[in-house]
């Protein structure tokens, strides 16, 4: 079924593929090309190095455990948020997205400090003989932190739309609540669960910023993660090793993405075409065990408090631990001012590029059917499941001295008499930020466009409206809030991007962004600079909280609008 009444297919498809290729695929291919040049013997020597193998094992095992824990708590949290009413529910719901909004480096230093033997949680735990920071346990805790939203947000919409008649049917046939959950509800949740699990797992394997501080990065203790090893090789200018390891990571990410996509295809195969009239709510005669409900709510609250609220409080406490005067002072250094400007510069450009891409890509992905659409969708989502360090590496392998595009840039510079530098300069920082947040806007708009369908646009097109008019008058009002939310999320991630930028930016006070400045301050190690690191972090925390509040606000607006329609 080709829908070509709606205009703009060629144009939007062209723009989508061009931008995707230039900003994501060609840089990634550069890694691939370079790693293929190494030759199999050296490749295997690099990859079979003990430290590398251990780091891969560490990344995979810790991410796996974290993803499993997140899956269990994700189901509980989603269940509590959808099924139960209790005071503070919206607050709890809003907090879930904190790990998306909080810069990974900030999360990293906070968790590391919190769980160190002198930290808020680390101190009591160490008295019990449990060491968290600088162990696999700490690494896993950090990965749980960043993975929470993936599972919860995958399951929540499925539970919200869950047809109460399924539960009623099971109840009428004699099933108790336990059997109903495991035999009827869980199978319906399974595809969303696997998707959420896969995303959290993939994100965990590539995670950099939030784990490097708490992991300890000891080769002896096997607490090095793969992203750390790649970054280390980059710092030693050992590009062949870095690309070889990156290739292995890319393959793992790709397999995970493929797995997620297959799950989604399988899901639609089971559920498509089944006529559904969802009744409003389940009958009031169905059993509602009070005890279980309170245990679930309590579990959720404790989990969210320990994993999300405590770190927030810890940042504020740490940043003010040397008084307000010191706080202001540490925010007014030249380094911070420069980092602030660089961050804003990179964020604004990223936002413009990714918003444009998001609008164009979601149009082509939802308004037309074409061959290879599924592949394109997978490719657009690549930045989600790739280590940000690899994103940074990609641009080095493209524009760096060894990159294939280096001579091109050089000859342009010679011809025009300019001195454009990409890598280790502002353009590199901007490119890396764009790469990492590439799918953020489109990902928010696509589901909305899919839900509203194409009827209104077709009607407008049949009445003779042109593409831009249709978009402005018919489509835009529907996606307004989703667009704003996507832009906010994109902004938050761009402000906080660390791993990719870290690989591409080496000059403090010139190309450092705020997260890099935080990193530099924290790693300086003396107590003053650590407090300063938290002070700078607090700016990003405030932005993250604003993002969460806005998200809640926009989501609420959207709900009100839908209820009215």
């Amino acid at each position: 079924m080709n829908n070509r009444i709606i205009p703009g297919f060629r144009l939007t498809l062209g723009i989508t593929i061009t931008m995707l290729s230039l900003l994501i695929l060609i840089p990634l291919a550069s890694v691939l090309v370079y790693s293929l040049k190494i030759g199999p013997a050296e490749f295997f020597k690099v990859v079979s190095d003990k430290a590398v193998l251990f780091s891969i094992a560490t990344s995979i095992s810790c991410s796996f455990i974290a993803a499993v824990i997140n899956t269990i708590f994700g189901v509980i949290l989603a269940w509590v948020l959808v099924r139960y009413e209790f005071p503070g529910k919206r607050f709890l719901d809003g907090l879930i997205e904190l790990p998306f909004a909080l810069p990974t480096a900030v999360a990293g230093i906070t968790l590391s400090k919190m769980y160190s033997t002198t930290g808020e949680l680390g101190a009591p735990l160490s008295k019990l003989g449990i060491k968290v920071s600088y162990t696999h346990l700490g690494l896993t805790v950090a990965l749980i932190f960043i993975g929470i939203p993936f599972v919860v947000r995958a399951i929540q919409p499925v539970l919200e739309k869950f047809n109460p008649a399924y539960e009623e049917a099971a109840y009428i046939l004699g099933a108790d609540r336990r059997k109903t959950f495991f035999r009827v509800i869980l199978p319906e949740l399974r595809p969303a669960l696997l998707t959420g699990f896969g995303l959290a797992f993939a994100r965990g394997i590539g995670e950099y910023g939030s784990v490097i501080y708490i992991a300890g990065n000891s080769a002896k203790e096997h607490t090095q993660v793969v992203s750390y090893i790649i970054m280390q090789k980059l710092n030693y200018l050992d590009y062949s090793s870095a690309t070889a390891i990156a290739l292995v990571m890319l393959i793992i990410s790709f397999l995970l993405l493929l797995f997620i996509n297959i799950v989604q295809v399988y899901q639609s195969r089971r559920t498509s075409g089944v006529y559904e009239v969802a009744s409003a709510t389940t009958g009031d005669a169905l059993p509602q065990p009070k005890g279980g409900r309170y245990i679930m709510i309590a579990l959720s609250v404790v989990f969210v408090f320990l994993m999300l609220v405590m770190p927030l409080l810890s940042i504020i406490r740490n940043s003010l631990s040397k008084g307000f005067g010191f706080y202001v002072e540490s925010l007014s250094t030249n380094y911070v001012r420069s980092a602030f400007l660089v961050t804003i510069f990179a964020t604004v450009i990223t936002l413009l590029v990714n918003t444009f891409f998001g609008l164009v890509a979601s149009w082509v992905m939802t308004r037309f059917q074409f061959k290879g659409k599924q592949v394109l969708a997978t490719l657009i989502d690549i930045p989600f499941s790739i280590s940000p360090v690899i994103a940074g590496l990609s641009f080095i392998m493209m524009f760096g001295r060894l990159g294939w595009a280096y001579p091109i840039v050089e000859s342009i510079n010679q011809a025009l008499g300019t001195d454009i530098q990409i890598v280790f300069a502002l353009p590199g920082v901007v490119l890396a930020t764009i790469f990492v947040t590439f799918p953020f806007v489109s990902r928010e708009i696509i589901p909305v466009l899919n839900t509203i369908g194409t009827d209104e646009e077709e009607a407008a097109a049949l009445m003779g409206a042109k593409g831009l008019t249709i978009f402005r008058k018919v489509t835009f009002p529907h996606i307004k809030w989703a667009l704003v939310y996507g832009m906010i999320l994109c902004t938050a991630r761009a402000l906080g991007e660390f791993g990719a930028v870290n690989a591409l930016s080496k000059t403090r006070g010139v190309t450092f962004t705020l997260p890099l400045e935080i990193d530099a301050l924290y790693l300086a190690g003396d107590s003053d600079s650590i407090v300063a690191a938290f002070s700078v972090s607090s700016i990003l925390v405030i932005i993250a909280i604003v993002v969460l509040v806005l998200r809640n606000f926009f989501e609420h607006k959207e709900k009100v609008k839908r209820a009215g329609a």
């Binding site: 009428i172 046939l173 004699g174 075409g273 089944v274 005669a285 169905l286």
Partner: protein, 369 residues
């Protein structure tokens, strides 16, 4: 009475979904709960099933008050509006679910499921998933699943809502036959009067949370007792000045309902109506609509707008043509009740010397062809 509801009330917050509902259903009956959407019919069904708790009143099944019993203890089977077939289970697993829950031995489950699949003509589809079935097949799986644990009362919520108009017709008679074959007392909810009349042997008409009338399809059609039923059943036109029609006198009524089958319109030279042409009145055709199996003819009779049906076998008519019109009867109504009014002049004339009453909805009409 096999199923009995006594003074049932049901509130959802401020909304009264059921107001003092009482009725009884005999064993073996096939009963329709008929009413417009929001009339409370589904709520009644869900309370009988044990999905909703009545706010007050008793539900009695087979002599036991079942208010505090779960659906499986009540011995009911339920077919959901959209069937709610478990999408991740095969046809076999869906039908076997209720038996597995009761820990019935595997071989017994197998023979019971096989028996039901044979009964519902689903043999060979055991391993299909619900979305690989047609709408009619899904309904049959839902039916088999509900019957598997051997319920004594079958409840069906809008069983034909999810099916195409064409297949719906077949399934109505299929379901009716199947229920009689199994011999199970059944209650189904519908908003479609044709469906209720065709399938049920007893109809309970609901409106605004109350029961309007209970009776056989013929009774509901022939003697509507309330203004609501007289308007809801059939395709009646509501008129205020019914006393403008010849043969009807003004009474203490608010208005009247005239169904198309109550209106006879014939040409001047029609021999068949020669005896009664004297008591007819003139009506002008204002519109003619082709309805497939008949013509729908709209008439202006002394300022009153009426509708009648005309067989396609009769002589052609055209808009503007003046016809002779006789109205056999109307349902007059006040605020509380509906009353059957016969055409007084026609009654006096009594062309065939038989009391008029017996003709209404019987096999013979007034005029033998």
């Amino acid at each position: 009475m096999y199923v009995e509801l006594k003074n049932i009330n049901k509130n959802f917050g401020d909304f009264e979904a059921s107001k003092d509902i009482s009725f009884g259903i005999e064993k073996g009956r096939l009963v329709a709960l008929l009413g417009p959407s929001g009339s409370g019919k589904t709520t009644i069904l869900r309370m009988i099933a044990g999905l909703e708790n009545p706010t007050s009143g008793d539900i009695i099944i087979d002599g036991r008050v079942v208010n505090n019993l779960s659906p499986s203890e009540r011995g009911i089977g339920f077919v959901f509006q959209s069937y709610a077939l478990f999408r991740y289970m095969t046809v076999y697993q869906n039908v076997a679910f209720g038996l597995e829950i009761q820990n019935v031995p595997k071989d017994q489950i197998k023979s019971r499921v096989d028996e039901l699949l044979a009964l519902t003509d689903l043999k060979g589809l055991e391993d299909r998933f619900p979305n690989q079935l047609s709408g009619g097949q899904r309904q049959r799986v839902a039916f088999a699943r509900a019957l598997a644990p051997n319920p004594t009362l079958l409840l069906l919520d809008e069983p034909f809502a999810a099916i195409d108009a064409k297949v719906r017709q077949e399934l109505r008679s299929w379901l009716r036959e199947m229920i009689y074959k199994v011999g199970i007392t059944s209650i189904f909810v519908t908003h479609d009067q044709d469906e209720a009349v065709e399938v049920a042997d007893q109809i309970i008409v609901t409106n605004k949370g109350k029961i309007e009338q209970i009776g056989s399809p013929l009774e509901i059609y022939k003697t509507p007792q309330t203004p609501f039923v007289s308007q809801f059943i059939g395709q009646g036109t509501v008129i205020d000045d019914y006393y403008q029609l010849r043969g009807f006198e003004k009474g203490d009524y608010k208005g009247a309902i005239v169904r198309p089958e109550f209106v006879e319109a014939f040409k001047n030279d029609n021999d068949r109506f020669a005896k009664v042409v004297g008591i007819s009145q003139k009506g002008t055709i204002t519109d003619i609509l082709f309805r497939g199996n008949a013509l729908e003819v709209r008439l202006d009779v002394g300022g009153v707008q009426l509708v009648t049906h005309r067989s396609l076998e009769r002589r052609p008519i055209k808009v503007g043509e003046v016809m002779n019109v006789i109205i056999y009867r109307v349902y007059a109504f006040d605020d509380e009740r509906a009353y059957l009014l016969e055409n007084e002049e026609l009654k006096k004339k009594d062309v065939n010397n038989v009391h008029l009453e017996s003709y209404l909805y019987s096999n013979e009409g007034y005029f033998v062809v």
